[in-house]
Amino acid sequence: MRVAILQFPGSNCDWDSEHAVRDVLGVSAHRVWHKARLPSETEAVIVPGGFSFGDYLRCGAIARFSPIMHDLKNFAEKGGQVLGICNGFQILCESGLLPGALIRNDCLDFRCLNQNLTVENSNERFNQNTLGNSLLLPIAHGEGNFRADESVLFSLEENQQVLIRYDGNPNGSVNAIAGIRNSAGNVYGMMPHPERAVGSHHPCLDGLPVLKAFLEPLLDSIPVEVTSG
């Protein structure tokens, strides 16, 4: 098992993420229960979407206290690769692994649609060469409105930590931010769902380059020809 997909009570994109990484990209992946230890052979972690602990209190606010978060923090501090998608992004923000917070969409409703995104030149893995200038990815959230105070925002922009921005802001995020990374460049978070855009039965395939960019350090084992799951 190389990629650990964390499973909290209420996670609901864990199966999708496992399917995308294991069956489509061909990298061994397993779900790891929130009360378990992170297996020592883990090379990358995906914190999937869903409604961990029912989104009670605040999205991600309870998951942050789950036993596995201790291991996750250690893993991230040692430079381990972490990607939080949707509720996973919220959990990473709540636990301090990523800056900022995600609040209720400004339209006040849940939004599920295929969203156009602009790619930023963030680092050697997430940029317009690896991902193209724009992406079409599904979004599905009620609380994806990214917020950060001015100094955090300034440093996010200054250090090119913004990965992707919405075209036409669906949730009111500041600077239309849809995804960011930490300053060290090993922890990533985004509201759009790359794992829902990897097969010919999906509305688009733009999740493939995003997941490949994240799994790049493990990439030698990824088949050149990507087949649909």
């Binding site: 009570p9 609901n12 229960w33 029912g54 599920c112 829902r196 097969g199």
Partner: protein
């Protein structure tokens, strides 16, 4: 016959319950005097208050189908063709949901259920718990839920109260379903004044399972332990089943405690824990969800199915309120709870699973010899009843039926009494239809539903049918789902109206490339004790049953919701038909939208020129009158067989059935996909313009084929005996141009039409934002 033990029961530990059973008390429990006599004869003594409460919920229409059981027997429950795909594995009424075979050793469990009355009082919680209840019915069968849809009906959307109900229901469904992570494929929504004050909220769930994993809701094996799993019991939803079995009145808001409160997070935990438990070989003997009538229904139904007795002790039932008495615990409809019977000696295996998921698993009783359901509380027997007296032996009624005179009169109205539409009114006539919320885009609704989770959504909501890939089973097959029921037709002619609901639903599947397998139906009607309402029910069931038999598409389950009345009378008869179909491969998944110029458009089904009951009569003349369109099951079959055959031959690029709004609305909807696709078509002139352009005759579909396939397609249509008329071609003009004879009667921008269609509902719901 059950053994009679005529000794009176000891006093209940809660003195409040030790009251004399008076006529008033009996009436307030919705039990008729003759039914009470039946209870006395069965027990050989008077019931105590807890027992009366138990009879009241179990003998309610919601649980006992006492006014419909005889009618429901008209539905075919299995396939006549034993070689065809879609054999019924679990029949209607046998378990919590029916199951059909979809090949490769997989089955699909699916069912629709209403939550109309709770939604009328508390739209958010009512709709949310409606979703919760139907999802539990599916995973109780051992199936992993893979799709949700809803059939919703509301009054006039301009009414502020209707807006509130609509918004509440949609956000309740969104809240609950999204949290569970089951894709919601939308469904059908109609708006009609007849639903004012009594909206309909029917929720459907489908799940997938291996044949060998089908679970039973039976308590068998004397000595096997009975477990209660899920969150604690509270006082919410007390007597919800009997609440659902009476008419709504102005005082119904006082029934608010009868509406349950949902917690989708608990449901998600329960779902995962139950599936994990059921995956342990041989552990689970029987399982049943505590839905309507809660603990009462689950204990007596499992005992009754297992031909066993059952004994439970309420002291062991997890409770989240203090001081609850036996009446309250037995009748509570607290959500997200299950009753599980496991193999004796293997209790620990169950307990470990529920401990992992942080849920209660309380050992509350065991399976007993005999036939009695015995309930103890604080060391005292508080109820002791023959289990079957509550289920199989519940009363069954035939009700008198008579056709309402005003309906016959409305049906006999002739279209000749109104003038035909003039050419210059066609554009505004079309826009009025596109602006009607029944016809307008429902994006405002389904954009609030997570329809893409579980990697399965192949055709997003808004096409003829929702289509999901069976990814979770790791097979490349596609399940299609469609709901339908046009209340206007059912009101004017219930027999034909129900058949139209059936054939339209099946046609929606065929347009998507899916072969129909089975039906689940939700019969929403008025008070069955009124002959006029019962007539509607009876005719609809007959019509539906005949259509099912003709097409060999059995009914594998469903729900009956009666007493849908408010103020002025009953709702229009609304027998919602939901049909599951299967598509063998991805290439055969067809959408309704046109994406290329140069395609040829062909109308199947000809020009019957029927305008009765149409939406055009509503939007242009404010009439719900006229003869409903003819239904020919033979012709319908020819059209649908042709569609499937030609889709499989790879000749059909897009297809859309003609339904509400008729030809022009159908064409417009096909063009709302991509910018700048336009169309230019010619229509023969032989009769009224309004009937030609806006009539809602059945058995009709517009298909798009490439010009190289067009001749072959038309020749195949001839062979199949289906009338096929060349209409015109798509272009990149972005315009809809209609010629009747040599005269251009309409030339309008698709973008303008699209704007009307797309904005109708958002403008109504959020005028400030658009």
């Amino acid at each position: 016959m059950s053994q009679i033990s005529s000794t009176p029961l000891p006093l209940n530990p809660d003195p409040v319950l030790n009251v004399e059973i008076t006529d008033d008390l009996i009436e307030r429990h919705g039990i008729l005097p003759q039914e009470y006599q039946q209870i006395l004869a069965m027990l050989g003594r008077a019931p105590n208050l807890t027992e009366l409460g138990i009879f009241s919920v179990m003998w309610s229409e919601h649980c006992a189908y006492k006014n419909t059981r005889k009618l429901l027997r008209l539905f075919p429950t299995e396939k006549k063709d034993k070689q065809a795909i879609g054999q019924v594995l679990v029949k209607a009424g046998e378990e919590n949901a029916g199951v059909i075979d979809v090949g490769d050793g997989w089955g699909v469990a699916f069912k629709i259920e209403s939550h109309n009355h709770p939604s009328a009082i508390e739209p958010f919680e009512g709709a949310a718990t409606g979703v919760g209840g139907i999802v539990r019915d599916i995973f109780t069968m051992g199936a992993r839920p893979i799709l949700l849809t809803n059939s919703l009906r509301f009054g006039d959307l301009n009414d502020p109260h209707v807006k509130r109900l609509f918004r509440g229901v949609v956000s309740g469904i969104s809240h609950y379903g999204n949290c569970l992570g089951i894709p919601n494929m939308g469904g059908d929504i109609y708006f009609d004044e007849c639903y004012e004050g009594n909206p309909l909220v029917n929720a459907l769930c489908a799940g997938i399972l291996r044949h060998e994993d089908i679970q039973k809701g039976a308590a068998t094996g004397v000595g096997n332990p009975v477990y209660y799993v899920g969150p604690g019991t509270g006082r919410d939803g007390l007597g919800g089943a009997s609440f659902a079995s009476r008419e709504l009145t102005a005082e119904s808001t006082e029934d608010r405690p009868a509406v349950q409160k949902g917690d989708p997070f608990m449901e998600k935990l329960l779902l995962e824990a139950c599936l994990e438990m059921m995956a342990i070989p041989g552990l689970v003997v029987g399982i049943q969800d505590m839905g309507a009538a809660g603990l009462t229904c689950s204990t007596c139904e499992t005992a009754s199915r297992g031909n066993s007795g059952i004994e439970i002790d309420l002291d062991s039932v997890p409770q989240r309120e203090t001081g609850m008495n036996s009446y309250e615990i037995m009748l509570s409809e607290s959500q997200e709870r299950m009753l599980v019977i496991v193999q004796k000696g293997r209790e620990k295996e169950l307990e470990e699973v529920f401990e992992k998921w942080d849920l209660h698993a309380a050992h509350i009783g065991e399976v007993k010899q005999g036939d009695r359901m015995v309930v103890r509380h604080k060391g005292v027997v508080v109820a002791d009843l023959p289990a079957k007296s509550l289920t199989d032996e519940a009363p069954v009624y035939d009700q008198p039926a008579s056709e309402p005179a005003h309906v016959a009169k409305a049906r006999n109205w002739s279209v000749e009494s109104i003038p035909d539409i003039s050419v210059k009114e066609i554009e505004s006539g079309l826009k009025n239809l596109l602006n009607h919320p029944t016809i307008a885009s429902k994006r405002w609704v389904w954009q609030q539903y997570d329809h893409m989770v579980m990697s399965g959504c192949k055709v997003e909501p808004g096409s003829d049918a929702g289509v999901v890939r069976l990814s979770i089973a790791e097979i490349d097959k596609y399940l299609a789902i469609a709901n339908d029921c046009n209340n206007r037709f059912c009101y004017l002619d219930p027999y034909k109206g129900a058949q139209i609901a059936f054939v339209e639903c099946m046609r929606n599947l065929a347009c998507s490339g899916a072969k129909a397998l089975a039906v689940t139906d939700n019969l929403n009607f008025g008070n069955p004790n009124k002959p006029e309402a019962y007539h509607m029910l009876k005719e609809c069931v007959k019509g539906l049953a005949d259509a099912c038999a003709f097409f060999d598409v059995p009914v594998v389950g469903g729900n009956v919701s009666l007493y849908n009345e408010h103020g002025d009378g009953a709702i229009d008869p609304t027998p919602v038909v939901s049909m599951i179909g299967l598509i063998d491969k991805q290439e055969n998944v067809i959408r309704s939208q046109l994406e290329h110029a140069g395609l040829e458009l062909i109308l199947l089904g000809g020009w019957p020129m029927e305008l009765g009951g149409s939406y055009y009569l509503q939007t242009q003349h404010a009439k719900k009158e006229g003869a409903v369109p003819e239904v020919s099951l033979e012709n319908e079959k020819k059209v649908q067989d042709l569609l499937i055959e030609q889709i499989e031959a790879g000749r059909i690029v897009a297809a859309h059935d003609l339904s509400e709004g008729g030809l022009l609305v159908c064409l417009a909807e096909m063009l709302f996909g991509k910018n700048n696709i336009g169309v230019s078509i010619s229509i023969p002139t032989n009769g009224r313009i309004d009937s030609t352009l806006f009539g809602e005759s059945q058995g009709r579909v517009i298909v798009a084929v490439s010009s190289s396939d067009s001749n072959e397609f038309i020749s195949c249509s001839k062979t199949a005996g289906v009338q096929a008329n060349f209409l015109g071609r798509t272009s990149d003009s972005g315009m809809m141009q209609i010629k009747m004879g040599q005269k251009v009667v309409l030339s309008t921008s698709i973008a303008d039409l699209h704007l009307v269609w797309e904005h109708a509902i958002p403008d109504c719901m959020e005028p400030s934002r658009s």
